[in-house]
Symmetry: C2
Subunit: 140 residues, 2 copies
DNA sequence: CTTATTGCAAACGGTTTGCAGGATA
DNA sequence: TATCCTGCAAACCGTTTGCAATAAG
């Protein structure tokens, strides 16, 4: 995993564990908080630097939703997916739709481009308020 | 147009004109620069505040792509569209695809949500470098 | 021992806010 | 005149960077 010429350090181990154990979509502050529980004194700079390393190394993805914070999630199995964010409770669902992917490629082609990446976030509201107990669950 | 209890001022007129005259997708700095050509001394704060007012008033949309800058575009006719950004030259195309819209609604429904809004940005590269003279044109 | 990594604090860039002066209705 | 708006500068917030101390190989 660290054939990328990186030294193995305690902070990197902890940060990697935090990233994997969470269900993904952690903000940097989330990561700092959780990692400091295990390793007090860990600095923000280290977290920012390490998270970027993880992205370069291909083990994490960087996501930016509408709240001005950068979030990270482990790459893991399952591969690509997009996001469906509930504005009522804040829960983030993941989805995948091959037809949408295909149509994206078509749109790009029509403009003389080849798709490099994309971001597709759907924002919604819970139809039934009961369905929306995610927030509490997510925190727990 | 200003039945929103707003006073009509020179700076607001200028800012509105700048927004309309451009092909959209202007960063705040773009707006400041263009507006100051017409009204030197215009402050950044005013631009930020006014642009937000425009959004509230429903005459402008706020867009955030991957470069950490907020961009604005006039609402105008034509309605909703998504974006296709060329990483080679920076040009921003607009597109619309009903099938994609339909599928989004379906995805949301499957999770018990109703779509409120969405963001769909495709990033691509020019297939033919020649096609990619947009940058120069856009600046001119 | 050499090189990479860490933590701190200062720097940063975009955006927001407090406030006194100025323009609008 | 009463109120809203503006410009300035300082505050903010998330993120980045310089640097000396520290740990990994």
């Amino acid at each position: 995993m660290k054939e990328h010429r990186l030294k193995q350090t305690r902070q990197r181990q902890v940060l990697f564990d935090v990233l994997l154990q969470a269900e993904g979509h952690l903000s940097v502050e989330d990561v700092v908080t959780r990692a400091q529980a295990e390793l007090p004194g860990l600095g923000h700079a280290t977290v920012y630097r390490t998270l970027k390393l993880f992205v370069e190394a291909g083990v994490a993805h960087e996501r930016r939703f509408q709240d001005g914070q950068t979030r990270y999630e482990p790459v893991e199995a399952g591969g690509h997916h997009d996001h469906l964010i509930c504005k009522t409770c804040g829960h983030i669902f993941e989805f995948e739709d091959d037809e949408i992917e295909r149509r994206q490629a078509r749109v790009a082609k029509a403009h003389g481009l080849r798709v490099v990446s994309h971001r597709h976030d759907i924002y919604g509201e819970c139809v039934a308020p009961d369905t929306c107990s995610w927030k509490k669950q997510a925190q727990a």
